[in-house]
């Protein structure tokens, strides 16, 4: 396969003429071969769009969008009204954003702090721990939520341990099946996603700069704020945005710990689709969520490309 400039595909006709002008001294056989190759490249890309991305991504998303605005008489926003006026899902956007802000915010702060400690104060086993955090990503999120039931549930071991330690009459907490438990589980699951890019951006720091700043009398906080942060910022920002995006898209944790007392957007979409069997209403909720996710994702792509 040869390298093809992008314009070649945009206008095969003009490019063909262009190529012909360039290769006027070449034999017609060579020109024909070049033309055939350009045609093959365009056909290949078209095949990817039609055979792979079309059925997997484009067509389903278009159908989703269409179903959400498809009324009995032309376009209508009826489905959106139904979704957001349902008394059970009232305030669903606010709840979702509150959970998102609390858990992704806490995970970001914790992740950056942990990464800084792991990088600037390495201890024996820090490498092993970093490796473990990388593998943690393959651990399904709903399992994290599930294990928390054994640890922090009303009969969980940490609650019982505290009860025995302080001689309480009852286990000291019962917060798991609600916002508290969801936030805890999301913080645990998504902190490693912040640690990794932050560590990677710390690794690009030139340690001589830090030593120079120190020897010129800068305090630790000054080094952190004026030297480390400006240099490592793009990586940290990308990690934080990724964390927000994945927390917004989370489903398993919300289903296991939050489906009883906490209505969030993904759970509301899921239950209107599979419990109420009301696909148009579910589609309306899904389109709203799609817009939020894609907006965050666009920011992430932009940051990552620049960084």
């Amino acid at each position: 396969m040869h390298k093809a400039p992008a314009q070649e595909l945009l206008s095969p006709a003009t490019t063909g003429a262009h190529a012909a002008a360039h290769t006027i001294s070449l034999s017609p056989a060579v020109v024909a071969r070049k033309r055939r190759r350009a045609l093959l490249t365009s056909l290949n890309l078209a095949a990817i769009l039609i055979v792979v991305l079309g059925p997997l991504i484009i067509y389903p998303l278009l159908r989703l969008l269409w179903l959400s605005v498809d009324g009995a008489h032309g376009l209508s926003l009826q489905a959106y009204q139904t979704f957001f006026s349902d008394p059970e899902t009232r305030g669903v956007l606010g709840t979702t954003l509150m959970i998102l802000g609390a858990s992704a915010g806490a995970a970001s702060i914790l992740g950056v702090t942990l990464a800084a400690l792991l990088f600037f104060k390495p201890f024996p086993g820090a490498r092993l721990l970093t490796r473990f955090l990388e593998l943690f990503v393959a651990f399904p999120s709903f399992l994290v939520a599930f294990t928390l039931i054994f640890l922090y549930g009303s009969q969980g071991s940490i609650g019982i341990a505290l009860q025995q330690l302080f001689g309480l009459e009852a286990p000291p907490f019962n917060f798991l099946f609600g916002p508290g438990g969801v936030i805890l589980a999301e913080v645990i699951f998504y902190t490693p996603f912040v640690v990794r890019p932050t560590l990677a951006s710390f690794a690009t720091l030139d340690m001589r700069l830090l030593e120079a700043a120190r020897s010129l009398g800068a305090g630790l906080s000054m080094v952190a704020l004026r030297v480390v942060l400006p240099i490592a910022w793009p990586g940290i920002a990308a990690g934080v945005i990724l964390c927000f995006l994945m927390t917004l898209n989370e489903f398993g944790i919300l289903l296991v710990l939050g489906s009883a007392h906490l209505v969030t957007l993904p759970v509301a979409i899921y239950s209107s689709a599979t419990v109420d069997l009301d696909l148009p209403t579910a589609a309306a909720g899904a389109v709203v969520m799609l817009c939020m996710s894609l907006a965050l994702y666009a920011v992430y792509r932009r940051l990552n490309r620049r960084g």
């Binding site: 792979v52 792991l118 390495p122």
Partner: protein, 297 residues
């Protein structure tokens, strides 16, 4: 946060005179304090990490072999009865998960390879950028939304897949495609392009270049892509739960169902089998455990 970098060099007095001894002792004490606080911080970091991240993984293992675990700090008694009690439904779910996972990993990797090879060396504008963006898009989509979209698109004619496991494979392939594509695209380095052009200029046909030059070079990336696709597919819940046909279930669906009904210990046993399959596949396919974190981003 305390960020102790290289200690600021203290000026040592070569031969401490009498009055300098007090100062030297103070410096030594400061240094001891600093070292102690360093130890304390490192210890606390390790402890917090173990508490937050290592403990949950251990709990799955512990609870699956527990006789009983409710109202006590540690499980009481060791038994394998939860594994012995796994019914044929559970084993069907394991088999279904493995089959779907294998199919998803294979097709995701092949499609990812195709896209990566087609876009290689192309500057990211025009159609190339469009394909790149679309192939990476599932990365930013909520799994429930993608699942719902696939369900809406394929639940009735002209193409009705809602009764077959194919719809599960389809939605999971869409979800793992970005990772597989990224994996292959990252491995197509400029050196490889030079090798290919050299082979082509020496007269090798494109097919021969692909089989003899490109694929051997891409082997590690393809294995990593398979392993990642398999692991992601085994743990996928949101989209699978939205589209799965009646009479079919993967391990995550069964586990979540049991957790919702309060059967925690059987769910643990099944979850441990899932984790073991996932880890085994990662080790077998990838030979060494790939840097998953780097690929997921």
């Amino acid at each position: 946060m305390d960020m102790q970098l290289a200690p600021v060099p203290q000026k040592p007095s070569p031969q401490p005179s009498e009055p300098a001894l007090g100062a030297a002792a103070r410096v030594a004490r400061q240094r001891r304090m600093r070292r102690f606080s360093g130890f304390a911080i490192a210890f606390a970091t390790g402890l917090v990490c173990c508490w937050l991240f290592v403990l949950p993984v251990m709990v799955v293992g512990l609870s699956s072999v527990a006789e009983h675990w409710s109202g006590t700090i540690l499980p009481t008694g060791v038994s394998l009865r939860w594994f012995e009690r796994l019914g044929s439904d559970d084993w069907d779910a394991v088999a279904a998960s493995l089959e779907v996972g294998f199919g998803v990993a294979l097709s995701g990797t092949l499609l990812g390879l195709w896209i990566a090879l087609s876009l290689e060396g192309r500057d990211r504008r025009g159609v190339g950028a469009l394909i790149d963006t679309l192939a990476m898009m599932p990365n930013g989509l909520p799994s429930v939304v993608l699942g719902l979209a696939v369900l809406i698109a394929y639940h009735k004619r002209p193409l009705d897949l809602s009764g077959s496991a194919a719809i599960v494979v389809l939605v999971q392939v869409a979800l793992v495609l970005p990772f597989c594509y990224r994996c292959c695209a990252a491995a197509l380095r400029p050196e490889l392009t030079i090798l290919r052009e050299a082979a082509a200029s020496l007269g090798a046909a494109p097919a021969r270049v692909l089989v003899r030059v490109v694929l051997p070079q891409l082997m590690p990336a393809l294995r990593a892509s398979m392993a990642l696709g398999f692991a992601l597919s085994l743990g996928e819940l949101g989209a699978t739960l939205t589209v799965y046909p009646p009479g079919f279930a993967t391990v995550p669906i069964v586990v979540v169902g049991e957790v919702e009904r309060g059967y925690y210990l059987p769910a643990s046993a099944l979850a441990l089998i899932l984790l073991a399959c996932s880890l085994l596949a990662l080790c077998l396919i990838a030979a060494r455990i790939p840097k998953l974190g780097a690929l997921k981003a």
